[in-house]
Amino acid sequence: MDLTLILFIILAVTAIATALGLLISRNAVYAALFLVMNFACVAIFYLLLGAPFIAMAQVTVYAGAIMVLFLFVIMLLGAEKLPKGDVLPVQRPLAIGAAVILLAEAVILLVQRFQSTAMLQAPGTVENSMDSLREMSGLLFTEYLLPFEVTSILLLVAMVGAIVLTKQEKGTRG
């Protein structure tokens, strides 16, 4: 058994455990921290698959920026302790339905993968990560330009919306 496999098993167990912790934890701060650990595990999975840039982006963007903002909001609102019981009764059946759909998709994909003879193979490690970066950004700005721009406009709209919602009207300032 080589080291990569051992590492993979440890990581997989940690990833599942932290995901469960996120679901079960009644304290929002702990839940957020479990999610951070989960992101870290996913980042190392990317590293094992030979995608160092995506691994680092995963840590920087998700663990480093988004989850910090989550924590910030949780702490600012003092919303650490979740109330007992469901606030939205619709949530639970909806979540179960969504989970079943996701599981079905995963199973179908897996079955298809096993039926085709071509196994999923990790892209070989690129000697110079700049080459892979260049290739990736080239694809982003040529072939996937439309989705890229649409995503950025979507984010821009969300940002403008957030600013409009939080901006004080002139004259109401105490």
Binding site: L3, V29, M56, V59, T60, G64, A65, L71, M75, M130
Partner: protein
């Protein structure tokens, strides 16, 4: 990945952590002496010759202090927070090269390099570790169950998120200039010219943003004494406080090492000393010495800033980060990329357009800052 390479990393890592911890102890001494000099005082000079044993005395005192646990604190996170704060400060420099290739030596059939991990995405690794460094401080503030500590933690989050953008963009300029994300390539790309000369405004932005990232004065909002008692570490004492303290100073060392590597030529000599004895190509042993000298000078700069500048007000800190630094660093990325493209396609002399136009952009930003952030006459007063 073999057993031998893991052993090599372990030994190198251990040695490097020990160096950082010793560096922390003597950085506090350096800072106190330098501050004292600037403020026309003497500074610690009793313990040992020139007060050189003062850090050891401080360490012994901190170790033997009573460990306090505030009532109703979150015990687990209160215990973990100093560790979470210190770890990024210790691991962030793992990708920095300290010596040229000529200094590598064979040992037990392996080539030992002057770098703990030579990874292809070195500079992105630094970026990602810097971005998760905020957790420790936030958790320290939150778990203390203290209003002021909590406010300190929240302030540090907002501040670090804001300045991380400018920091990341100044990294982008460096990546574009070096055409690589690997640290050794970045250092070697500065052989003919340091990036400090090619991208002076980027360097200034980097230094400002890192000051904010490590919560140093004038950006020490998370621990502003007059407003928040001691901010996020109000409730900490003894060894736990020592760990937070250690993290702060090790972060200072780390960012000075990184700044030296990506803007000041790393282990390389001045670009005009290339074919002399002072070049690391001829005298490889000078590599680590150069890094040390550069770090020493940069650290003095940080201490100097602390001694001279007052703390910036919180709203201005945010306005400065978002309205000045972010647009300016975005513009710099564009200017750098355009300059390199023109230099490649038209005339290599366009390379010198980068610093000139960047300085102009920086000047415009300063003018804009003067217009928007200066103290306004209060009309209603």
């Amino acid at each position: 990945m073999t057993f031998a390479s893991i052993l090599e990393w372990l030994i190198k890592g251990f040695v490097w952590v020990m160096i950082l911890l010793g560096g922390f102890a003597y950085l506090t001494y350096y800072e106190r002496r330098a501050l004292a000099r600037i403020q026309v005082r003497i500074g610690p000079n009793r313990a040992g010759p020139l007060g050189l044993l003062q850090p050891i005395a401080d360490a012994i005192k901190l170790i033997f202090k009573e460990e306090l646990m505030p009532a109703r604190a979150d015990k687990l996170l209160f215990f973990l927070a100093p560790i979470i704060t210190l770890t990024p400060a210790l691991v962030i420099t793992a990708v920095v090269p300290f010596g040229p290739e000529g200094l590598n030596f064979p040992l037990f059939g392996r080539v030992i390099t002057w770098q703990i991990a030579d990874i292809n995405v070195g500079i992105l690794y630094i970026m990602s570790i810097a971005s998760i460094a905020v957790y420790g401080i936030v958790l320290a503030g939150w778990s203390s169950n203290n209003k002021y500590a909590m406010l300190g933690g929240l302030r540090s989050t907002a501040q670090m998120i804001s300045y991380e953008l400018a920091l990341g963009l100044s990294f982008v300029s460096v990546i574009v200039l070096a055409d690589s994300t690997r640290m050794i390539d970045i250092v070697e790309a500065q052989k003919s010219m340091w990036f400090m000369v090619l991208q002076p405004v980027g360097m200034v932005i980097f230094l400002i943003a890192t000051l904010a990232e490590v919560n140093r004065s004038p950006f020490d909002m998370p621990e502003a004494e007059q407003e928040l008692a001691a901010g996020y570490h109000s409730e900490y004492g003894g060894m736990k406080f020592a760990l937070l303290f250690m993290a702060e100073y090790d972060k200072m060392i780390a960012i000075c090492i990184i700044a030296a590597t990506i803007f000041f030529g790393g282990y390389r000599e001045f670009w005009f000393l290339q074919n002399t004895w002072f070049s690391v190509d001829q005298t490889p042993i000078l590599g680590p010495v150069y890094v040390f000298i550069k770090v020493f000078i940069l650290l003095f700069g940080m201490i100097w800033v602390r001694a001279t500048l007052p703390r910036i007000r919180y709203d201005r800190l945010m306005a400065f980060g978002w309205k000045i630094l972010l647009p300016l660093s975005l513009a710099l990325v564009f200017l750098t990329a355009t300059g390199i493209l023109l230099a490649q396609e038209v005339n290599p002399l366009f390379m010198w357009g980068i610093p000139v136009v960047s300085l102009a952009a920086g000047f415009i930003a300063i003018l804009g800052m003067y217009q928007t952030l200066r103290r306004k006459e209060h009309a209603r007063a």
